[in-house]
Symmetry: C2
């Protein structure tokens, strides 16, 4: 029997996987941009981000720009590593798929 894949629950949940995917594609993304991109309410995004921050995967940078407060989010080094590991695990599944054909 082949090894069963294990996933990082903090990253695997759909909403947070989307967040991580978006963050991994940029150095930093603004809170409102992220919220619109994944289509959730402020509160939901805030909660997902809090969980990712507590996991050490995301770091917020608060700054004022054009007279408004903005929060920029980015993946930490650990966050990038965890996301890459997660994707690698999933990519391994792709390998399994091919092996079966």
């Amino acid at each position: 029997m082949i090894a069963v894949p294990q996933f990082d629950a903090a990253i695997h949940a759909p909403g947070r996987l989307q967040i991580c995917a978006l963050l991994s594609a940029s150095d930093q993304v603004e809170f409102a941009t992220l919220r619109e991109a994944i289509g959730v309410s402020d509160s939901v995004l805030s909660k997902h981000l809090k969980l990712l921050e507590e996991a050490g995967y995301v770091r917020p940078r608060k700054a004022t720009s054009e007279g408004r407060q903005r929060t920029w989010l980015s993946l930490t080094t650990e966050g990038r590593r965890a996301f890459a590991a997660h994707v690698a695990e999933l990519t391994r599944l792709a390998g399994l798929t091919r092996a079966a054909e």
Copy 2:
């Protein structure tokens, strides 16, 4: 802004992703083997399989072997396609990750 990945909820849930991964690696897998591989109870596996069957992704084959009833599970053609599409979507995330580095 890049496109946000959309996932198939039937496949994305951790337990069912494990099931699909295992099934994708074989032509068919026995119920008990699957249950031990992913470490859940009979009832939980049964419920996951039911959902996957209703989605048209898994097909059970019941047969008697060595005097015992056994159920062999396999992915349908549609199931293989859906799983491959799901993994492809995730693989695209890997591409995003690399593009950001």
